[in-house]
Symmetry: C2
Subunit: 219 residues, 2 copies
């Protein structure tokens, strides 16, 4: 059927198999969740032979790990410059909105959530997902730390923790979406409202600012 074995460099009938398997793994998780993943289903989506997963990666788990790693590295890199250019909470919220919409659209959040769930009792996968999430949170944390310097919020909010809470919120809401779409959307909106609150508080006038700082200190 296909002209397999053709090795002229210009042909590229399909991307090389290894890559197609990685993409297929991602797509399979996105569509059916980790529960629906197997060597056979992935191979089916990738249009490749099941045995090739073991030839190229050694095991199905190892393929999932690679899919996780590759996606995170690529996507985080895609936003690095934009995140570095952010100078206030308002801009961060705007970027956050866009970033989340883009990643959701691509299915990256769903896949991350599913991998995270699958990592329960699977140390190899857990390590990979941890690394992937670490790439995201490190970037966000850096921006938050920069913005919080000199803010009345700096005594209250821990950048590292907030970065993880926001990531976890996205992940949790994405899972929620499969069970209750409208509820998840309302939750998403609330997350934005909290962002607006941070922004508003951060931009308070000197008087209100001092009152707030005093209140925070007292706790």
């Amino acid at each position: 059927m296909l002209d397999r074995g053709d090795h002229r460099e210009g042909v590229r009938r399909l991307a090389d198999t290894r890559q197609r398997l990685v993409d297929g793994a991602f797509e399979t998780i996105r569509r059916h969740g980790v529960a629906g993943v197997s060597a056979r289903t992935i191979a089916g989506v990738a249009g490749a032979n099941q045995a090739l997963i073991f030839y190229h990666f050694g095991s199905v788990d190892a393929l999932l790990v690679e899919a996780c790693r590759a996606t995170a590295a690529q996507r985080v890199g895609h936003y690095r410059d934009e995140l570095a250019a952010v100078t206030d909470f308002s801009a961060l919220l705007d970027l956050g909105r866009r970033l989340h919409a883009e990643e959701r659209e691509l299915g990256n959040v769903t896949v991350l959530a599913q991998l995270l769930a699958g990592a329960q009792g699977n140390p190899r996968l857990a390590e990979a997902v941890n690394a992937a999430l670490g790439l995201w949170t490190a970037e966000i944390e850096q921006v938050l730390a920069r913005l919080l310097r000199g803010s009345p919020l700096s005594d209250l909010v821990d950048p590292a923790g907030l970065a993880r809470a926001v990531s976890a919120g996205f992940v949790g809401l994405e899972l929620y979406e499969a069970a209750d779409l409208e509820g998840a959307e309302a939750g998403m909106a609330a997350l934005e409202q909290l962002g607006v609150l941070l922004e508003v508080v951060d931009e308070l006038g000197p008087l209100a600012r001092r009152a707030l700082a005093a209140r925070i200190k007292r706790r």
Copy 2:
């Protein structure tokens, strides 16, 4: 070995099988995640025969649905009175801390997160998890709505959305925990800090309060 078949009412060597299967299902998810769940693993944990799952519930899925339903109903009922007695954000935060600690300890959050992940592409399970989460969010939403009346935050924060965002945050962080314990704890702390921020803002003096309300209106 065991004196099976003994039907004297006082014996109760073990709780009735149906209940042990529900508990076993819960425990299996908690320990190994949805990925590790099967009729055999559940039966093993429950100390029962695998075939009894199909006799009592018809399918493994149906057993998971029942475990989800039973746990949620029981636990939400457990907090209803306390939630109804809450009259300010400070008390809500205190209760929230305790509630979350208790539920985490019991494994209820982990199980919910795992079921949520498994609900992807499993409509029957999705419906059950949706109902379970609905019980929680309905209670939280009610308290939030009550507390927000008259607060400068009422124009900004939607109780229904916030209830879902908080639930999703807990769920997401619980998943996170399997991959990165310290990170998840930092995230949890940040969630509390946001709670404190709500509390502080809510209790602001009239002057700062007015400044804040004006800022919020402007957006």
